[in-house]
């Protein structure tokens, strides 16, 4: 399974004041707050970690059908600006994050092999929803394929997994 989340940094600046009293305590663990305060750009770290939690939550929500607001239970294990794992009640999700000056974008997966099988959707793709969970109907097989959609401010990202494409793994040099 896959999940994604994009943060438009300009809009986030307008919408949220992460320095508001109580804000970080409600959504970030002690370890995550340490990462934020130690970073040269705390604001970018806030949204980097937040997008990981959101992307992982989308998978968790599908796997368990549990809907709720529990950001502290989605714990980020930060490896680098781009890589990490999010753990939620014993479930682990690998995350890959892209950081630019305009946005932060995270893709979470249940199996790390999925990263290379991810296909971006066109913004005009026909998205259906059941219980607020999105999918598309494959035009050839007519089978419902799970997708993950994220939209924030100027940015829209939709992804699915392409299982049929032959996978070419690069061998170590």
């Amino acid at each position: 399974m896959i999940g994604n989340d994009i943060v438009d940094l300009a809009l986030a600046k307008k919408q949220s004041n992460w320095q508001r009293k109580g804000f970080l305590d409600k959504i970030f663990t002690k370890n995550e707050q340490d990462l934020i305060y130690k970073d040269i750009n705390p604001e970018v770290m806030v949204w980097n970690l937040w997008s990981r939690k959101e992307a992982a939550y989308k998978i968790y929500n599908r796997q368990t059908n549990i809907r709720g607001y529990f950001p502290l239970q989605l714990e980020c294990f930060y490896e680098s600006e781009t890589l990490g794992t999010v753990c939620c009640n014993g479930n682990f999700y690998r995350t890959q994050t892209t950081v630019s000056s305009e946005f932060i974008y995270t893709i979470a997966v249940t199996e790390k092999d999925y990263f290379i099988q991810i296909k971006n959707l066109d913004s005009d793709a026909k998205i259906c929803k059941t219980n607020a969970i999105p999918f598309i109907i494959d035009e050839f097989t007519k089978i419902a394929k799970p997708v993950s959609i994220s939209h924030h401010g100027r940015f829209w990202k939709g992804i699915t997994i392409e299982f049929n494409t032959p996978v070419i793994t690069s061998s170590p040099i």
């Binding site: 986030a12 949220s16 009293k21 804000f23 959504i27 709720g68 607001y69 950001p71």
Partner: protein, 85 residues
């Protein structure tokens, strides 16, 4: 405190964060903060902090988990207020 009053107060609290005006105008106890009002998930923290400030209550993590629609928000406010008395 009566329910209508709480709904009105809650409407004032969520107003700055809503994206879907139509759903806001038609708000009922069944209205979902994220799916209907399209409140950004990071702004849900602001809604929770605003509720805490307005009613002088503390919303613990367990209660926060359920804070996804008007109905649970009202229940949580009511419970926390009664615990305080």
């Amino acid at each position: 405190m009566n329910k209508e009053q709480t709904i009105d107060e809650l409407k004032n609290i969520v107003k700055p964060y809503i994206v879907n005006q139509e759903a806001f105008d038609a708000l009922t106890v069944e209205t979902d903060f994220i799916n209907d009002l399209k409140i950004n998930s990071a702004n849900l923290v602001d809604v929770i902090l605003d509720i805490e400030e307005k009613y002088n209550i503390v919303i613990d993590n367990e209660s926060m988990e359920r804070m996804i629609n008007v109905k649970s928000a009202m229940e949580i406010i009511e419970t926390k207020l009664s615990e305080r008395e």
